[in-house]
């Protein structure tokens, strides 16, 4: 089975780190992975996106038109990409920054997680990407939450390994909030 996930947000929200983290988790599960980032020329404030495909077989196209899961971290991403999710797929939304309003997404399950709020409650808004990854693992059984613990060691540079316990708490908070 081939899994794909699309993550989109502002530059600075940690979209690429989130993508790397999920990639390492999939590698830890023994799968092949392609991680395809795409971002504007700006360092911060522009848009940042990535697509991760993982499978025990070939990963095929790194570009996916209709992802099975999309994690959308800001309003712009939601407005632009929510309806691109495959039929029967999941749209995980950062409800701290996204007003879904009366937007209808037929055939797509909307999972709202107040990611910024959860990250702030744990002491640092920058952990919004960790909350998002936690939410993903609560809904996609191919990547168990625990697989992220090991992945953090690979995705974070050595100097930031002291932050791993806090990140694990943020991941857990995201997972709890997204639990069915």
């Amino acid at each position: 089975m081939r899994h794909d996930v699309f993550i989109s947000g502002y530059g600075g929200q940690g979209v690429l780190l989130a993508g790397n983290l999920l990639s390492y988790a999939a590698i830890h599960q023994g799968m092949n992975v392609s991680f395809f980032p795409s971002y504007g020329v700006e360092k911060r404030g522009g848009s940042a996106m990535c697509t991760i495909v993982f499978s025990h077989d070939e990963t095929g196209s790194p570009v996916v038109g209709h992802p099975s899961v999309s994690i959308l971290l800001n309003q712009l991403s939601f407005d632009k990409y929510a309806d691109k999710v495959r039929q029967g797929g999941l749209c995980i939304v950062n409800s701290s920054l996204v007003i879904t309003g009366d937007r209808e997404l037929p055939g797509i399950e909307l999972v709202q997680v107040p990611m910024n709020q959860l990250a702030i409650d744990l002491g640092d808004a920058r952990m919004v990407n960790m909350v998002a990854c936690g939410a993903y693992t609560a809904r996609v059984s191919a990547l168990p939450r625990q697989s992220l613990d090991e992945a953090l060691k690979k995705a974070l540079p050595e100097r930031n390994h002291r932050l791993i316990p806090a990140n694990i708490m943020a991941i857990q908070a995201g997972a709890d909030a997204a639990q069915r």
Binding site: I27, V33, S34, V41, G60, S61, P62, V63
Partner: protein, 352 residues
């Protein structure tokens, strides 16, 4: 080494260059290939090699020429605007029969263009790029593993055939991360560089590396010799990959990132019962004509897909049997213009 490592395509190029024994890297940063000089600036000096961030791309390619003339493995890398600047030096290298590796991680153009993926430098790469009528070896990876493997191959082919070799990828393959095996350098037999300019012993013959050929008949003889070498390359070194072509009633052809996307579209087509296969050229020069000729002898429908308004299609049309229909689908480069597998499947349905 068999343990897999998770790296960017650009990093794989840099790692492979070191494994291939590159001694000199000269370059100038430009998106989307800056990971290559970044990696080499850190790692190449540790192996005793030389990394220089040169004042310009023109300086970089001429330093590659100089290092190569001295007989060492040398490389440079850039993207569209920088590769254009290097063309004069590449022409001089071709004229001087010098090896050397140039990595082009294509971005949009013309001019400054933009940083998203493009395949619109196909003509520039495969037609020589500079003046004077020459060709260079062009290799087109479609995965991070191939970025690694084909970079090493580029060094070997370049040394064997004494001509510049280019690794031609785009920002998708350059920026993408995948798990790869960092293979050891293949034990390819390589010719001795007895033409290199390294200083000479008393009484020994003088080596001269130059592209100026003013002797009677000298230049014409050079061109015919190079022509024969290109033919030898085509016969011996053409490389391609076929996927699901055995029973195919339609062949999709694409290179690099587009081939990766097309492959997933073909899986979708197969799932719908359409007998579609993929022919992916790995060497763009020499273009693997023999594969097109063989497949088009029995399959008369081809669909060429490129991230441009159509360049490789010229080579496809020159290679297939005359009664073959070659359709085209292109997405000229631009932000948001990458085709998706779903979109390519729709094109396959239209033509099948």
């Amino acid at each position: 080494m068999s343990e897999k490592i998770f790296v960017k395509g650009n990093e794989a190029v840099a790692m492979a260059a070191i494994e291939a024994g590159v001694r000199c890297y000269f370059g100038y940063p430009i998106t989307p290939q800056s990971d290559i000089p970044e990696y080499l600036s850190r790692e190449l000096p540790k192996t005793g090699g030389t990394f220089i961030q040169v004042e310009s791309e023109i300086g970089a390619i001429n330093m590659v020429l100089g290092a190569s003339a001295a007989g060492v493995r040398a490389m440079t890398s850039s993207s569209g605007p920088g590769i254009s600047l290097k063309q004069e030096g590449i022409s001089y290298m071709a004229g001087s029969e010098l090896p050397g590796v140039i990595v082009d991680i294509m971005r949009q153009g013309p001019g400054l263009g933009g940083i998203d993926a493009s395949q619109a430098d196909y003509f520039q790469a495969t037609r020589g790029g500079g003046h004077g009528g020459y060709r260079i070896i062009v290799l087109a990876p479609d995965s991070v593993q191939e970025m690694y493997d084909l970079t090493m191959l580029a060094f070997d082919l370049s040394d064997i055939y004494r001509m510049p070799a280019m690794v031609l990828a785009d920002s998708v393959i350059g920026q993408m991360k995948e798990s790869i095996v960092a293979n050891s350098r293949p034990e390819t037999p390589l010719p001795v560089k007895d033409w290199a300019v390294r200083g000479r012993a008393e009484g020994a013959d003088q080596n001269v590396v130059k592209s100026l050929k003013l002797g009677d008949g000298e230049m014409e003889a050079f061109h015919w010799a190079m022509h024969a070498r290109y033919q030898e390359l085509a016969d011996k070194e053409s490389r391609w990959e076929e996927y699901q072509t055995a029973d195919a009633e339609m062949i999709v052809t694409a290179f690099g990132s587009t081939a990766r996307i097309a492959r997933t579209a073909i899986e979708g087509a197969r799932a719908e019962g359409m007998k579609v296969g993929l022919l992916r050229p790995i060497t763009l020069f020499p273009f693997p004509k023999q594969a097109y000729t063989a497949l088009s002898a029995r399959c008369k429908r081809f669909l060429d897909i490129e991230l441009s308004t159509g360049q490789m299609i010229d080579d496809v049309r020159l290679s297939v049997a005359r009664d073959t229909d070659v359709a085209f689908y292109g997405r000229p480069p631009g932000a948001g213009s990458l085709p998706t597998p779903e979109e390519l499947l729709e094109q396959i349905r239209k033509i099948y």
